[in-house]
Amino acid sequence: MDWSKTLVKEEINFEADKKGRKLSYAAAIREALELAMTSDERVFIMGQGVDDPVGMFGITLDLHKKYGQERVFDTPLSENALTGVAIGAAVAGMRPVYMHNRPDFLLLAMDQIVNHAAKWSYMFGGSVRAPLVIWACVGRGWGGAAQHTQTLQGLFMHIPGLRLVMPTTPYDAKGLLITGIADNNPVIILEHRWLLRQSGYVPEGLYSIPFGCGVVRRQGKDITIVAISYMVVEALGAARELEKQGIDAEVIDPRTLRPLDEAIILESVKKTGRLVVADTGWKTGGVGAEITALVAEKGFEYLKAPVRRVTTLDIPTPASDVLEAKFYTGKADIIVSCSEIMEKKVTK
């Protein structure tokens, strides 16, 4: 298959149009994998449990039966080597998708991801490339605790040579995964377990969503909320509440963090003059820092008030549910941050 054909430039927002069928988030991703495997022999799937009876939250369910154990296979717990295996296969012309049920385990593979995948094209002057997808689903809740709930986009966003994708809707999860498999570079896709509960309208067949192209999830004029992954859900909830208080918030979902759709953020802040960034990860040195810095650099003249970051607390995730409730932020915190900066006098 010629992947470039699927790389439509103009994206139709199927959700808004309610075209396609209503599909669960997991089914949407599974469909993307199925379509990719059908159309491109080079695509294969690997990961712990991808061929087990549960099939990675249902996402890879029975794919091994359809495409064979060679193309959909379980892996040993050797995350660093297996990442290297995926890279090596990619460099040799394949299109591997390596799936993890948690990003925490990617920390074992940082050498292959950062020292190898991210650098392979540049380091060799473009004569080789590593088109692979690393997919992982962020955990949350039920005392998953410090080693099973990390989000880690704050780390990957820092690495030149990687693509970093964080979908929010079933429509995006499918389209971005297709784009990721078609992309000629290493792509990291971080899903969120709580989004897996969602369902939405998803068109049939292959379609792709260009990287670096955010969407306005809600139009508003008073304040811009840039929300990442599951925080889009919280931000939309917050926006509805804020509306009652007479605050009209615009919610932006960048969908990909590397490349980042700077224009959509800057345009929105130009209109609203205010920015809140809501991220599922840690605050310090995280995604919220980069988006804030972007606006402080390139959109400073638009800003009427301090920026606020709504993130998890800067601690390892605690197990206890009462502490989890403090650790994670959401709708209420976004509302507080928005209200606070709406009140700020413009002192300049």
Binding site: P76, L108, G143, Q147, H148, I315, A319, L323
Partner: protein, 338 residues
């Protein structure tokens, strides 16, 4: 690949007096305690009051007991996500453990860690990692500390068969051999990692052979036989304490419950009822109990008394945990730095 079913009967070979009677009874009591606590979790987990993913070690009680009863209180242990048994066998505070399952402030990790992160420094349990293989270099490092301090302690790492797939174990054992560190590596080979059978993950299933090339002393035992585990661990630990360096022990065993939670795995479909039944028949506690009764090392009356006592104590433990206070929200940031 050789068959990895262990269908042979469990033979407890004890020669007159070579293991003190009291110790033989202690094996039983320890395994029994572990089993009781696990069964209690199994019974209460559906209440959703233990908001933490529990990984029961039912079926693997003999490894924890057989190994840990060789240790001194100040010897170090690092364990993994399936650590309840090791915690109990090493003498950890059971109330604090169960309170941790209930995410209470009285929990061994003050409700910050949950079931996969148990600790009890009073008995040398320096922590548990839920990253597969993560605790292996830590135990190696604790052994290095002992060498530097010449304090004569031994360190233990407990881990599953999947840890063999992580490079860190080869790195760790090479270093331990290089420095002749007093550390014993105990692999509980229960044939599965989550739903994946060993044969899907490893090129050959004789895990113990993986380390032959490093000349580390290796033992492979029936992990459901507490006496066999004890004997191997005893040698390994004595050698470590005598400055003879590390050892590796592969214990063949089986988890009777699902990877986590209270199912059997049969309903998920990755293993059969027959396979589970075969291993139920090889239950390390029941079989050993039978042996003790046969050998008159224990009487039915004693068992009854002991059962009642443990039941009562376990009841108390869970009540304590349940009644304990939750962590305070305003202390959520505490303990990040010291």
């Amino acid at each position: 690949m050789k068959s990895i079913k262990v269908t042979s009967p469990i033979v407890f070979s004890v020669c007159r007096g070579d293991i003190p009677k009291e110790l033989l009874r202690e094996f039983y009591r320890t395994m029994f305690w572990i089993q009781k606590v696990e069964l209690k979790i199994n019974e209460l987990y559906h209440e959703d009051e233990m908001k933490t993913p529990v990984h029961l070690c039912l079926g693997q009680e003999a490894v924890a007991a057989g190994v840990c009863l060789n240790l001194n209180a100040n010897d170090y242990v690092f364990t993994n996500h399936r650590g309840h048994g090791h915690y109990i066998a090493k003498g950890g505070n059971i109330k604090a453990m169960v309170a941790e399952f209930y995410n209470r402030e009285t929990g061994c990790s003050r409700g910050r860690g949950g079931s996969m992160h148990l600790v009890d420094t009073a008995v040398g349990l320096l922590g548990s990692s839920s990253i597969v293989g993560g605790g292996i270099p830590l135990a190696t490092g604790a052994a290095l500390a002992s060498v530097l301090r010449k304090d004569n302690r031994v360190s233990l790492a407990f881990f599953g068969d999947a840890a063999i797939e992580e490079g860190v174990i080869y790195e760790s054992i090479n270093f331990a051999m290089l420095k002749k560190l007093p550390v014993v590596y105990v692999c509980e080979n229960n044939l599965y990692s989550v739903f994946s059978h060993l044969s899907k993950r490893q090129a050959q299933d004789d895990i113990y052979r993986r380390f032959i090339g490093l000349d580390i002393p290796i033992y492979r035992v029936d992990g459901n036989n507490v006496v066999a585990v004890y004997r191997a661990a005893k040698k390994a630990i004595a050698q470590a304490r005598d400055g003879g360096g590390p050892s590796f022990i592969e214990c063949r065993t089986y988890r009777l419950k699902d990877h986590h939670g209270t199912g059997s795995g049969v309903e998920v479909g990755y293993r059969s009822q027959e396979e589970v039944d075969e291993w139920v028949a090889r239950c390390p506690v029941k079989n050993y109990e039978r042996f003790l009764l046969e050998q008159r090392l224990l009487t039915a009356v004693e068992i009854k008394q002991f059962t009642d006592a443990v039941d009562r104590e376990v009841e108390g433990v869970f009540n304590f945990a349940h009644a304990s206070p939750l962590p305070r929200e305003d202390e959520v940031l505490d303990y990040l730095y010291q």
